[in-house]
């Protein structure tokens, strides 16, 4: 590993660095690592860095592996291990079949999927429309509208007043209470607006000269050019809707309308027993409680794991636009 590390940076360094490295009083052995970095070049330091990063990654990865393994493990192994297993000997989807064949978890999963899909589509539409409308300085009421959005970044409305507003609108116990209040996030609007303003305006202008209306410009030119930012902002909204827990707890009283996160809290965090009354197809030899719980946990985190790799490459691009350019 050490040779690989010492050989690689030469490619990235500018000629000046190389010359400087040669002239610098550092011993020749150090030359290889004179990149724009902060670490020392010696082997122990590199080893230590590697170790620290390895521990960091392990701390993140191991819980996920253990949870997924336990959800796949059979009863004997779970009993033998005393609850959790790091690797299933005979992986089976028994726990998932039980949990997903009807009952509380299945229903909650459908609710969560529905809220996430509908919410993300509506949120993206509202946010993109607002961001586009705000991306043109000099238009009617541009400044007041922009300030209206910007000020929301400075305060949060508070639990009680938000609850009262949702209640006054008659949204309590309705799925809309989980979608509409969080449909426009000021930060996301600003991120998207900055992206729109950075698009080559000449293209938009030439379309306008050719007679395209604003709607056409937005849908045919601006949005197709903004896939990166749409992906990132869409991910933020989708994760927000999927993860919404407290708003559901606050606004949804009817347990039949619970989204997955509330089910997760009840049956995993608070350890309420999962039995035949809330899971339909448990059969005569039900999977261990532990596996059922971990299966619910995995179901609630798998969608995020699935979209994550596709959107990850856009993160730095999308987030930076709004945050750093500031």
């Amino acid at each position: 590993m050490s040779t690989a590390v010492t050989n690689r940076p030469a490619r990235r360094r500018s000629p000046i660095t190389r010359a400087a490295g040669r002239r610098s009083p550092a011993p020749p052995g150090r030359r290889g690592t004179t990149g724009p970095g902060t670490g020392g070049a010696s082997l122990p330091v590199r080893g230590l860095k590697g170790l620290v990063l390895l521990v960091c990654c392990a701390v993140v990865v191991v819980p996920f592996v253990a949870v997924i393994s336990t959800s796949l493990a059979d009863k004997d192994q779970v009993t033998k291990a005393g609850g959790f297993v790091l690797w299933p000997d005979h992986p089976s989807l028994y726990a998932y079949r039980a949990v997903l064949s009807g009952g509380v978890v299945t229903r909650a999963l459908l609710v969560s999927v529905g809220i996430t899909v509908v919410g993300t589509v509506l949120a993206l539409a509202c946010t993109a429309a607002l961001a586009y409308a705000l991306s043109r300085p000099g238009t009617f009421a541009h400044k007041p509208l922009l300030l209206t959005v910007l000020f929301t970044l400075m305060f949060s409305p508070g639990i009680i007043p938000s609850y009262l507003v949702v209640k006054e609108f008659g949204l309590l116990n309705s799925y809309w209470s989980l979608i509409v209040p969080v449909m426009v996030n000021g930060f996301n609007v600003i991120v998207m607006r900055s992206f729109f303003m950075d698009l080559p305006q000449d293209i938009l202008d030439s379309a306008r000269i050719d007679g395209a209306g604003e709607f056409r410009v937005l849908t045919r030119i601006v949005l197709p050019l903004s896939k990166a930012v749409l992906a990132v902002v869409g991910l933020f909204y989708a994760v927000g809707f999927w993860n919404s827990f407290f708003t559901a707890m606050l606004y949804i009283n009817d347990t039949a309308k619970w989204p997955l996160q509330l089910v997760l809290r009840t049956y995993v965090v608070n350890n309420a027993p999962l039995g035949a009354d809330n899971i339909a197809a448990l059969g005569t030899t039900p999977p261990p409680q532990q596996s059922l719980q971990m299966a619910i946990l995995v179901i609630s985190l798998v969608p995020i794991l699935l979209v994550y790799p596709f959107l990850q490459k856009h993160f730095s691009k999308g987030v930076m636009v709004g945050a750093v350019k500031g």
Binding site: T38, L53, C57, P63, G83, L146, I160, P181, D198
Partner: protein, 335 residues
């Protein structure tokens, strides 16, 4: 102040007069030359586009601010907001007279906020410096994708994961018990509650927090390192004299945002874990508002506490920003 903020949020291209006029690119002259009505007619479609979004913001961000009036009322749900009687400042008595439960919540909030600033804030900076010093881009990217992941997990998932790993029946403790050791009972221990939630925040958001610092690090002019190397600066000195000054602006900015956010002490996270440790160890202002208002129906008092908390939060942001200006940094917005 706020106008400056809008100006700064515009990318460079939009700054200053554009050759083709600032008025939306329909070939018209500068906007000032037209009547308001004409501009309204010209931009009616853009305004229509803005309408749904602005409506949501007004209804669910600004309208609740009006809901704060119940802090001055004896709110009864069946009377409604306007029907409930005014009671002046009596809802604020818990704050001014130091109601023990409120004092506990305030004390816990301040301790958690301090822990967040002292123990949580530096971690992403350290991780970013460490990542930045890696020479292999590939390893860097892999580590980044792993460390960003927990940020996208809900608090319910994070708490469930922590219970599975560290709980009394969790993986670590069963393993320790198998090997004849006493065990490690951090979950459910009121004394360790703040340590637990602080470490959960570190676990969840340290990786994601590195994004901005890494971006700042990548913008440091490499010629500065070259010059420092020519002058014989060691790696440590380069870190001290080039790297850290290079990211100081972002660090100050993030610190200000953190301070402004200080009183928001992980509401969902704490609410989820309150039951086993009791309110003495775990009640913070947010949970106080929820438990007294929504659960106990003490609407006026909890709205009063929430209002004071909100006002103090805004004051914190403005104050921290002011301090940043005094020290010659740009802060979140110009004043």
């Amino acid at each position: 102040m706020a106008v400056e903020a809008t100006r700064r949020l515009r990318p460079g291209k939009a700054r200053g007069p554009r050759p083709r006029g600032d008025g939306g690119g329909r070939g018209g002259g500068p906007a000032a030359g037209r009547g308001r009505l004409a501009r309204l007619r010209r931009d009616r479609f853009l305004l229509l586009l803005a309408l749904p979004g602005i409506a949501v913001v007004l209804l669910f961000c600004y309208l609740p601010l009006l809901g704060n009036v119940i802090a001055f009322k004896d709110y009864q749900p069946f009377l409604g907001i306007s029907g409930s009687p005014w009671v002046g400042l009596s809802n604020f008595d818990v704050i001014f007279n130091g109601d023990p439960e409120f004092v506990t919540a305030l004390k816990n909030t301040l301790i958690v906020a301090l822990a967040q600033v002292v123990f949580v804030f530096p971690v992403p900076i350290a991780v970013a410096l460490l990542l930045n010093s890696l020479l292999s881009e590939r390893i860097k990217r892999i580590v980044q994708s792993v460390l960003y992941l927990p940020h996208f997990m809900s608090w319910v998932i994070v708490v469930a994961l922590f219970q599975s790993m560290l709980g009394n029946a969790g993986m670590l403790n069963t393993w320790l018990a198998h090997h004849g050791s006493g065990g490690f009972h951090i979950i459910g221990d009121p004394g360790l509650f703040k340590v637990l939630i602080t470490s959960q925040v570190v676990w969840k958001d340290s990786g994601w927090g590195t994004i901005l610092f890494l971006a700042a690090l990548s913008r440091i002019d490499t010629s500065l390192y070259e010059a420092a190397a020519v002058d014989g600066a060691s790696k440590t000195r380069q870190l001290w004299h080039v790297t850290l000054p290079g990211i100081r602006g972002v660090v100050v900015l993030m610190f200000i945002l953190k301070l402004g956010d200080a009183l928001n002490t992980g509401f969902e996270q704490i609410l989820l874990q309150q039951a086993p440790v009791g309110t003495d160890a775990s009640e913070v202002l947010d949970t106080y508002v929820y438990n007294h208002g929504v659960i106990n129906g003490d609407w006026g008092v909890s709205a009063a506490v929430g209002l004071v908390k909100g006002v103090v939060s805004v004051a914190l942001v403005l104050g921290a920003n002011k301090v940043a200006h005094i020290f010659g940094e740009r802060g979140v917005y110009e004043s």
